[in-house]
Symmetry: C2
Subunit: 438 residues, 2 copies
């Protein structure tokens, strides 16, 4: 598709849609000069046009009827920014049926129903591009399929949710409680009124599902990815992490393991030596380990209308140049012989941090460490806070770090420890993510 | 160019050439599966084949005569890894004349003679791709032209020389002297026997010249870029940086300024809040500020055969997909109306750090600060070390940081300060790079 002028219809005009429209209008001449691609906004479809009017977008571009708008032969690419599942899917399917290429920021839809949409697009000879679905303004999708084309990807971990990272950064830097940090994120516009899908990890799960498809040719349904959010974190863990030389981050992880790939999302300790540890506030970053390039990392704003709109426009330009088809045909639908299996994350080996509250009675620590050693689990460090002189004595915190251990071998000893009479709060394991070997 | 099988001839078989050949041989099947591109190594041209034999590359691929090798109709792409200027240029021109696309890692050649080579390639209908010329394994070239296609780039700063960064990291982390850190870098294979071009900034200058061409459509000869290397640094500056909350990095910088762009390479203070401050050892990273995406950063191994070879292969795959031409036609040769002028870096406004040695005599500090204020230069902080009780007293260090000041306004007051009788070592200004406004 190397038309002299590429027509773009933007469907949905909320944060991402208006960011896209604003950038399309303001950057048109610059894009033509840099990329040799002439883009023209052929219409904006919205239910109310409230945001479109706020931004002062030209009213002659307002289209109330999608079907009519899709018939415009000057429209080559349809941008879906409505979000959600069924309506967005219907819009994309109509666009495909009308022979239009599709660009979307819809991570939930691509993660859950990508395979079927890709098939429909391929049958119609059009593309679905989705750079904007992962990590906002970071060109991570194209870096994986294009920049790292020479590599077998061995691991990929990322901070891919800006809301969670903002909250964690506040907890780490200011010692705020989770509740106070969340309230601040909401005041600053980094968390929505209902932040559930961000803080419980669901949003990160969608993104790691999409990135794994690109990196490993692996289609995993987000529901099958074990997910823990930051809403379960205690500020004590954040303080212990700092003391031990780590930073707590909500990580979305995909790692090769045996003949497969394991995926998970959880708050984890990452060493201050790792560049992901320094990704603060609303920023996102993804570390990718390729067997030839080694470690590369991609950093930027993970959300917001302008950065996400910029990723949408990058996809539009790539389609306009005729360069997106290979992604769709290959990176998203690898030869099945090469696609890896999804294997349970519980089989992965990590170091772990455990924190528990115990009565400061003689022999308790000995019993805990014996249970671990009886299960062949090797302790790296133990810290028991000094008890005060109060009567009766208050329970004390015990923090243990473990050498590399297969995760599933922890459940039995941790259950035994939790059952000890002296243990007042069961051990909470947190994964320690080491620098991946290059 | 969407041939079923793309033939690749690798010319030169040193570190980068052998890294490329090794990856081409080992990753062939993986690349086909991921990208749908079948690559075939059609030959290796080398003077001695010493490295090629060390790696055990198949001897039936060894070609001693370039002209004959270029006649092979199964070769579509020629990879130039010879380095240097004239021989490399001759190889590239022969390849172009034979109708082959060219992929090169040769930063000096692209920076100094890129325009003329690009014209030759365009006239012949082929491409010159050069991802590997900047920052080794980091896909920075394609991120600027493709991933950030929607953006007007406002600034770009990077750590683009791994040798210098390794040395500085040792100086910062271990308090090593420059000489000891350099010796260690040489032992570890991160510095060559003659490290001049790395530590004096020349290598970084080549890279910022190339990146500026992509980001701003601006062709600046490396000789016109003001360049200071790390060989001028004193470990006292590194210690003061740490005390003030900064890290010293050798930065290659390009910034829009008025109607133009200014470029420079120099050791600079960068805040510990900036992610570039955490780029350690042999790693490189480039921060790019786009007017839509905001700040994005790209991190990875800046040198070495495998990472650089991976970038070469990424270019080969992109050419094989038929997607490289636009880069060459547009991003490297913007419409002249859009190309910006190169304006002197001395016109840029920065904060500055000054260190000098002065006799601890009454009134010296007052005289220094008066000279600055007489020139309208505003002081942010002053630190004078306590003098010891020795007789005669030894000169003491005075460290001054300045508020934002246009660089060229500093020369006159600094000359006056240097001329004061009490000043034993003239003030050495170091630029403080602030987070660029997004």
């Amino acid at each position: 598709m190397k038309n002299p002028e590429i027509g773009v219809l933007v469907v949905g005009c909320g944060t991402v849609g208006s960011g896209t429209v604003a950038a399309l209008l303001s950057q048109q001449e610059h894009i033509r000069s840099r990329s040799g691609v002439s883009l023209r906004l052929t219409g904006i479809v919205s239910r109310t046009f409230a945001t479109a009017r706020e931004h002062g977008f030209p009213e002659d571009l307002f289209r109330t009827d999608l079907s009519t708008a899709l018939q415009d032969e000057h429209t080559h690419i349809v941008v879906e920014t409505v979000g959600g599942m069924d309506t967005a899917e219907a819009i994309i399917r109509s666009a495909i049926a009308a022979g239009k290429h599709v660009v979307t920021a819809n991570k939930a839809l691509i993660a859950e129903r990508g395979s079927s949409l890709f098939t429909a697009a391929r049958d119609a000879g059009v593309t679905i591009a989705f750079e904007a679905s992962c990590a906002g303004g970071i060109p991570i999708v194209r870096s994986i399929y294009d920049g790292l084309a020479a590599n077998r990807i061995d691991a990929l971990f990322g901070i891919v949710n800006g809301t969670s990272n903002y909250i964690l950064s506040r907890m780490v830097q200011d010692g705020s409680s989770y509740e106070d940090a969340l309230a601040e994120a909401q005041r600053e516009g980094y968390a929505e009124a209902d932040p559930t899908l961000d803080v419980n990890g669901t949003d990160s799960t969608h993104k790691i599902a999409i990135l794994s498809r690109l990196a490993f040719g692996l289609a995993v349904h987000p529901d099958d990815i074990p997910t823990v959010g930051i809403d379960s974190l205690d500020s004590a863990d954040i303080a212990h992490a700092a003391r031990l030389g780590y930073v707590v981050k909500l990580l979305a992880v995909a790692m090769r393991h045996g003949t497969g790939v394991s995926l998970f999302v959880r708050p984890a300790f990452i060493s201050r030596e790792h560049p992901l540890a320094w990704v603060s506030g609303p920023f996102n970053a993804v570390s990718v380990y390729g067997n030839v390039s080694g470690h590369t990392m991609y950093y930027g704003r993970g959300a917001g209308g302008a950065p996400t709109g910029a990723s949408i426009i990058a996809d539009i330009v790539t389609i306009a140049r005729g360069c997106y088809a290979p992604v769709f045909e290959h990176s998203c639908a690898w030869d099945s012989s090469d696609a890896l299996q999804h294997v349970p994350a519980a089989g992965l080996e990590h170091r772990f941090y455990l924190r528990m509250l115990v009565d400061d009675t003689p022999g308790t620590l000995a019993r805990i460490t014996k249970i671990l050693s009886d299960h062949g689990i090797s302790i790296a460090s133990v810290m028991q806070a000094e008890s005060d002189e109060q009567q009766p004595p208050k329970p004390v915190q015990v923090v243990i770090t473990l050498h590399r251990t297969v995760e599933e071998t922890l459940s039995e000893p941790l259950a035994q420890i939790a059952a000890l009479e002296a243990v007042k709060q069961a051990p909470r394991p947190i994964t320690i993510i080491d620098e991946h070997p290059e």
